[in-house]
């Protein structure tokens, strides 16, 4: 039992923190949002230089063979700084699928991911799918040796700047059947792909995507095109784990700036942080943060579990805790700031918004609580 980072992990943390400290000031982030595509290619290039984009890939694939703790370290740092670049979409989600892809697929796509020249996006959400990964209407019909994809995908993170989309589509069965879901690599510029990008509530980007008879080759399918839901579940669980870590980073910073604020803000002739009502709120936020951190650790450990039911259940439990803590810390941070908390000018509001959106991604607390309850709880 050891919760300390190894020497190498500490170095990684220091280098990510250092990079973001120098390049991700609050004002800089505003500039990045205004850039073409809504994020900074320059920052992305620095991520590539520092090896962050190759972290989870094997050395044979040109990566660093790092594990889930390293991803956790990076995601926490991204959360602390409200980073809007497509790390989750490209490295965790896209990379997660490619790591489970064929040698040819890895060779074709990973070098571009690792050197920062290419980005990826995961097109999964549909009009009625909500959080159910197996609820897929978009179709992939066999045609010659390849497939023809048709359907609509929504809220695809960074879908408007990705070079390649990773699309879930149904090869057989009905809308909610577990069997018959495939995962396909689709070039964003393929004929029949119609992408409409927009800004998200938290300052990032997403897109709605129409697929009109898009033709892809047989080599576009990742894993078994007839039965790929298990891969989707695993990769999305890894994304949930990463979101937990990002949320911990964002909560940590939100609490920090809120405590700083109430130490400085004076009313009735004293710092408002001297009032017990505010102190107790801040103390409860600390408790929410630390219990979330504990569950984020556990979720990152669960990434290596070989028992997939146990893995899924643990990640779901973590997402419940993170969802509840993030709500509490986000709302509490705004409340401690008072009026300025609801302005664009102060940082706290932006943390609140990101924390709120994390809850809406890949299942909220209620959704995951239902899953844990159905599995009979998590007490051994």
């Amino acid at each position: 039992m050891d919760f300390d980072l190894s020497e190498e992990q500490r170095l990684l943390k220091d280098s990510v923190d250092g990079l973001l400290k120098s390049s991700y000031e609050f004002e800089a982030r505003k500039k990045y949002r205004a850039e073409k595509g809504g994020w900074s290619r320059d920052v992305w290039g620095k991520f590539a230089e520092q090896g962050l984009l190759g972290l989870p890939f094997s050395e044979d694939d040109g990566g660093f063979g790092a594990g889930p703790i390293e991803t956790m370290i990076v995601m926490e740092a991204l959360g602390r700084n409200l980073v809007i670049e497509p790390y989750l979409d490209t490295v965790v989600l896209g990379g997660g699928f490619l790591r489970r892809g064929s040698a040819e697929q890895r060779a074709a796509y990973l070098p571009g991911v690792i050197d920062g020249s290419k980005t990826l996006a995961f097109a999964q959400v549909e009009r009625d799918s909500r959080y159910d990964l197996g609820d897929v209407v978009t179709s992939a019909k066999k045609s010659g040796s390849g497939y023809v994809l048709s359907g609509e995908k929504f809220v695809v993170g960074h879908g408007d700047t990705a070079d390649t989309l990773i699309v879930t589509a149904r090869t057989s069965g009905g809308q909610r059947d577990a069997k018959g879901v495939g995962v396909f690599l689709v070039p964003a510029n393929a004929k029949g792909v119609d992408i409409k990008g927009y800004e998200t509530q938290d300052g990032s980007r997403a897109a709605d995507i129409k697929l009109n008879n898009v033709e892809v080759g047989a080599d576009a399918a990742i894993g078994n095109a007839e039965d790929g839901l298990s891969i989707v579940n695993q990769v999305v669980d890894d994304a949930r784990i990463a979101l937990c870590a990002e949320a911990v980073g964002a909560m940590e910073e939100a609490l920090k700036i809120s405590v700083e604020y109430i130490k400085e803000r004076k009313q009735f002739g004293v710092a408002i942080g001297s009032f017990q009502a505010l102190q107790h709120r801040a103390a409860d936020m600390f408790t929410a943060l630390e219990t979330a951190r504990s569950m984020s650790f556990l979720a990152s450990m669960a990434s290596s579990f070989t028992d997939l039911d146990e893995r899924t259940k643990t990640v779901a439990a973590a997402k419940v805790q993170i969802g509840r803590s993030a709500r509490f810390v986000g709302q509490g941070g705004v409340q401690l700031h008072g009026g300025v908390g609801v302005t664009m000018e102060y940082r706290i509001g932006h943390y609140f918004k990101r924390l709120t959106m994390i809850e809406q991604q890949f299942g909220d607390a209620d959704y995951h609580l239902r899953r844990v309850a159905q599995a009979g709880g998590i007490t051994e």
Partner: protein, 395 residues
């Protein structure tokens, strides 16, 4: 980072689990599982069983009978003890006055008291709170006036847990009436058989007698019963209360209670299905299980840090353990209460004949009532929030 236990620790868990299950009287185990009170003899016998095995005071320094176990092993030991469930060691001796004596007491005191605490030859109780001094403990008024080689003690203590069984009480008494609040307090050991001591039971809302008032009227105490230095008692009390917080999460006990809830809710019907299949009930239970998991991991983080960086000062983050631990214990007694349905109502004083249908249910509402105490004692949860705000957040 590695959250798993080592092979040796896993084997150790098996060893303590087996020992607990084989050596604890099944009648006592059943009492604890079902929420009935245990008797004085139940606790004393169990403590002596542990002492025979050399496990009476695992966390003490080895020279006084400790086992020298790592922080992780101490944690496993307590968790398994609570999961069995076995009677928790009476904290007043092994967790409170024992560590104060071996840290601040003189050689004669160590030699006399420590082995008797380990074997529970003496039953200890705690004389801290007074009617006017709860959270503001340092305002206490009980006095100890030096007279020759004795102290004359006058005043009143309250909330004195299980004082009706006690042979000894450790007391905070004011020895310097002119000193400011925290200074001027001394830590004194008093024989409960002394002339001038009166114990008045306070009945708690569950109908039990767990706490008492203790009155001191011109009680003569040998001066050699002073621990450490005169007027330094507040420091020793802070040390003692810091130790108390570490053991307060009670993760193992809550795990056992979850097992019990699942067991009962599987046999209690709600409509045409067992209650455990009611989605709303199940989700409430699952939500608590998740909170318990988060608490367990947080507890392990505190334990691992202690193992690595040494004991030193109590970790202020352990206030989280107190707050979350007590909240979860209360939620679980609430869920148990919900399981009982209408059978929560019959009040069955212990020892009297029990209504057959309500037999399993009768201790549950009293436990729920009684457990409101856990967010009040040991530094109320509001005091814990003050500690976090000041010691952690710097407010």
């Amino acid at each position: 980072m590695d959250l798993s236990f080592s092979k040796e620790e896993v084997a150790f868990r098996e060893e303590v689990r087996t020992f607990f299950r084989e050596s604890l009287d099944p009648v006592v185990r059943k009492k604890l599982q079902e929420g009935h009170h245990t008797s004085k003899d139940d606790l004393v016998n169990w403590q002596r069983t542990l002492n025979k095995k050399g496990w009476a005071v695992p966390h003490w320094p080895t020279e006084y009978g400790g086992t020298g176990w790592s922080a992780a092993k101490q944690y496993i030991f307590l968790e398994e003890l609570q999961k069995t469930p076995a009677p928790p060691p009476l904290p007043f001796g092994v967790n409170m006055v024992g560590p104060v004596i071996y840290t601040f007491g003189n050689e004669a005191q160590k030699k006399h008291y420590l082995p008797r605490i380990a074997n529970m030859d003496d039953w200890w109780c705690q004389g801290f709170s007074e009617p006017g001094s709860g959270s503001d403990l340092a305002s206490l008024k009980t006095t100890a006036k030096k007279k020759g080689d004795t102290y004359i003690v006058n005043g009143q203590k309250t909330w004195t847990t299980l004082a009706q069984h006690a042979d000894w009480i450790f007391c905070l008494c004011r020895t310097d009436p002119d000193a400011k609040k925290q200074s001027g307090i001394s830590f004194i050991l008093i024989d409960m058989k002394s002339k001038g001591i009166t114990v008045r039971p306070i009945q708690t809302i569950d109908g039990g007698v767990e706490v008492n008032e203790v009155f001191f009227d011109e009680v003569v105490v040998p001066a050699e019963n002073l621990v450490g230095e005169e007027n330094k008692g507040w420091d020793y009390a802070k040390f003692l209360l810091g130790n108390e917080r570490v053991n307060i999460a009670r993760v193992g006990m809550s795990k056992e209670r979850i097992r019990r809830i699942k067991e009962l809710a599987s046999s209690v019907m709600s409509g045409d299905k067992p209650l455990i299949e009611d989605p709303q009930f199940r989700q409430k239970l699952a939500a608590t299980e998740i909170e318990l998991k988060a608490l367990e991991l947080t507890q392990m983080r505190v334990v691992a840090a202690e193992g690595k960086h040494g004991k030193g000062k109590p970790d202020p983050a352990s206030s989280i353990l107190k707050i979350k631990g007590s909240e979860i214990q209360q939620t679980l007694t609430e869920l148990l209460l919900e399981v009982t349905g209408p059978f929560a109502l019959p009040f069955m004083p212990e020892g009297e004949g029990q209504n057959e249908e309500g037999d399993w249910a009768s201790p549950i509402a009293p436990t729920y009532f009684n457990y409101r105490k856990v967010s009040i004692y040991g530094g109320s949860n509001e005091i814990q929030r003050n500690i976090i705000a000041k010691a952690v957040l710097g407010l």
